[in-house]
């Protein structure tokens, strides 16, 4: 076949029949000119696509505002959560082959056995960290800010908990604001945490 810009134009629109595609692709193998033309055509097409303005779906704003909860009530809720224990389990994968062996989060009964007098349902927010450095940064943050957060580390896993609401919130905010953590359970549930039922022991 001879060089044919019309065919290239049809090709980028996927408007050539199979025979046409075969013929053109054969030609492209040996024709640098057409290969260049094709590349420019594809670029033009991609760039033109960027000019498109998409209309915001009708209920977008309404849906959004339904999911926006006043921040205050969230904090209030935490104040009401006196002395309850919240656990954050951060697991990070040290090597790719360990992906399958992320440890199960420890149950709260095991950790707080002495204080816990009745069955407790803990909120476990599980995350993956990008690497160990991210976890080191988190520990540094906790130390530097003198947060009352205790943590235990085992192979590839760190378990953190705090009995202080404000410190917990600080830690939450830090994790939430850091892009290197990926939530396994949804952090978005935390601000509407009042929808989660938690049984917790009252201590003096």
């Amino acid at each position: 076949m001879r060089c044919d810009y019309d065919k290239l134009s049809l090709y980028v629109d996927d408007e050539l029949d199979e025979a046409g595609i075969d013929e053109l692709e054969e030609h492209l193998k040996e024709c640098e000119d057409c290969k260049n033309d094709l590349e420019i055509l594809m670029q033009l097409k991609n760039e033109l696509e960027q000019l498109k303005e998409y209309e915001l779906p009708e209920h977008f704003h309404e849906d959004l505002m339904n999911n926006i909860k006043p921040k205050k009530s969230w904090y209030k809720y935490y104040v009401g959560l006196a002395a309850s224990m919240l656990i954050v389990v951060v697991s990070f994968t040290l090597a790719a082959d360990e992906i399958d062996s992320v440890p199960e989060p420890m149950s709260i009964d095991m950790m707080g056995a002495r204080q816990v007098q009745m069955p407790v349902t803990a909120i476990i927010w599980e995350l993956d960290a990008a690497d160990k450095g991210v976890v080191e940064d988190l520990k540094l943050f906790i130390d530097n800010n003198k947060l009352l957060v205790t943590y235990f580390e085992s192979d590839g896993q760190i378990q953190l908990f705090s009995q202080n609401e404000n410190d917990y919130i600080s830690m939450y905010d830090y994790i939430y604001a850091t892009d290197d953590f990926i939530s396994i359970s949804r952090p978005a549930d935390l601000p509407i945490i009042s929808e989660v039922v938690i049984n917790y022991p009252l201590t003096d």
Partner: protein, 202 residues
Amino acid sequence: MNEAKLIKRVKKGDVKAFEELIQQYEPIIYNTCMKILKNEHEAYDAAQEVCIKVWKQIDRFEGNSKFSTWVYRVTTNQCLDILRKHKSQKVVSIEMGNNDEGDWSLDVEDTTQDILKHIENNEMVDALKLALSELKEEHRQVILLRDVEDYSYEEISQKLSISLGTVKSRLSRGRQNLRNILLQDKEPFNSFWSQNSKEGIL
């Protein structure tokens, strides 16, 4: 109320102020998500998530950059995360049939970075718009319908009451002319190619 004041109020947890602030950004956020994700459903969810992040994470905005830049970053990060999560998604719709040499198959990461460059590059967009304006109306029309609005050949033929053959030839001619306008060695057209490695092609 000006933006700085709104932001201050949002930081204090003022939902009304957030509503006023975010409404100006919703269309931009959604458009950016659509351009990167190319899927209405995903873009919708991503854009919602971005708006919620703006609400929750606004304390992270320290005012060192423009607020719009910060929102843009939150948006692109959200979208790139989604793309990384399903790496199998094809961002480039046109591939050569035989890509043994890998010439035409782009890595997702490269492609997304590419998309970002394009979205971010206003000069490029301006150059393209100017070039389009220099086209004959009959050429501009078909190109806009096909490449911007994504109409099929059939739809264009009906819309403009022209034959399919005419659609094909006008598109081909129009694209050739558009390319020639953009390839002129002068500003602003050089800006169009600066992101596109003109040298590699010509």
